[in-house]
């Protein structure tokens, strides 16, 4: 390992992604990025476990909805899906601004991304409220329980993402990521896009797959 590379690994925060030493296998991917990817893989497998349980319960049941249990509202959740896609776009635009050393623009877009997450959580709270009033109660059926467990586990990720992005936005506004030091913004972006990616799958499997008539 060269002296430069050794110094880089000793103080990863003080090396900009552009100066990150090239690894034969992982190229210019920073330690922070690799760490986040490994975390996301383990997180993806947690979601996979929940979705598998849901798939097995649903595939093996003769009737999925108990009498009186409401259908899930697809148009409203499609709106939430669109909201998350929009927040993914503001995330990449914030990242792009940070790479180009435009602090104000980066702060604005990162803040908008966090706001998108907050709106998503409000939407989810609204949805839960409506569904529980219509008679969808946790524990009453496999349908209700898997729905609440999977969507709230995702909602918890959105909440985590909003907290994470708020911290990153403040740090950006304070100029911590100026002059090419945008690595932590990119790593936060990975987490946020992952939350969007998981929602794409949850939306399909939990909401869109039609009930057996």
């Amino acid at each position: 390992m060269s002296e430069h590379a050794a110094a880089a690994h000793a103080h990863p925060d003080f090396v900009t992604p552009a100066d990150w030493p090239e690894d034969p296998q992982y190229g210019k991917a920073t330690l922070g990025k690799l760490g986040m990817w490994i975390f996301l893989l383990s997180d993806a497998l947690s979601f996979a476990g929940l979705l598998l349980a849901y798939g097995i319960l649903r595939g093996g049941s003769t009737h999925w909805h108990n009498p009186g249990e409401p259908e899930l509202g697809i148009p409203f959740t499609a709106g939430l899906t669109f909201l998350l896609i929009c927040s993914s776009v503001t995330m990449v635009l914030g990242y792009a601004a940070a790479v180009e050393n435009k602090r104000k623009q980066a702060t604005l877009f990162l803040g908008l991304t966090a706001l998108g997450g907050v709106l998503f959580l409000c939407g989810q709270a609204h949805e839960y409220h409506g569904l529980s009033q219509e008679g969808l109660h946790f524990g009453a059926s496999a349908y209700a329980s898997t729905f609440y467990v999977i969507t709230s586990f995702h909602g918890f990720h959105v909440f985590t993402g909003v907290t994470y992005l708020t911290i990153i936005t403040i740090a950006t506004a304070l100029g911590k990521f100026d002059n090419g030091n945008y690595n932590r913004i990119e790593v936060a972006g990975l987490f946020w896009h992952f939350v969007d990616l998981i929602w794409i799958l949850v939306f399909t499997f939990v909401y869109l797959v039609p009930t057996q008539k």
Binding site: G27, A44, L51, L52, G59, T81, V92, I200, F205
Partner: protein, 94 residues
């Protein structure tokens, strides 16, 4: 070099939007059978997820070994799903 391509980001946004509309269209389609609908929905969801991963998470620009590090573990739940859900459905039907 960092990968910034605003135009491409917006194109991907448009693609994700159109694919979401397509998903809703597939669900509303009256004459489609359950199995084709299910396959179409999975194909749409997986392509949307792939677009997010490749372009927004920049996987497209990572090294081959990093792509494989991520892709291979993610294939295992799909295999489990195929076997275990098919088994559960088979029990129900038999």
């Amino acid at each position: 070099m960092a990968h910034v391509n605003r135009k491409q980001y917006m194109v991907i946004f448009l693609v994700l939007f159109v694919l979401t509309i397509l998903e809703l269209a597939v669900v509303k389609m009256p004459a489609i059978g359950r199995t084709p609908m299910f396959i179409a929905l999975i194909a749409l969801a997986v392509s949307k997820a792939a677009f997010v991963g490749l372009y927004y998470m920049h996987l497209k620009h990572e090294t081959r070994i990093l792509k494989l590090t991520i892709a291979i573990p993610l294939c295992t739940p799909a295999v489990y799903a195929l076997i275990l859900i098919a088994e559960a459905a088979w029990r129900r039907l038999s």
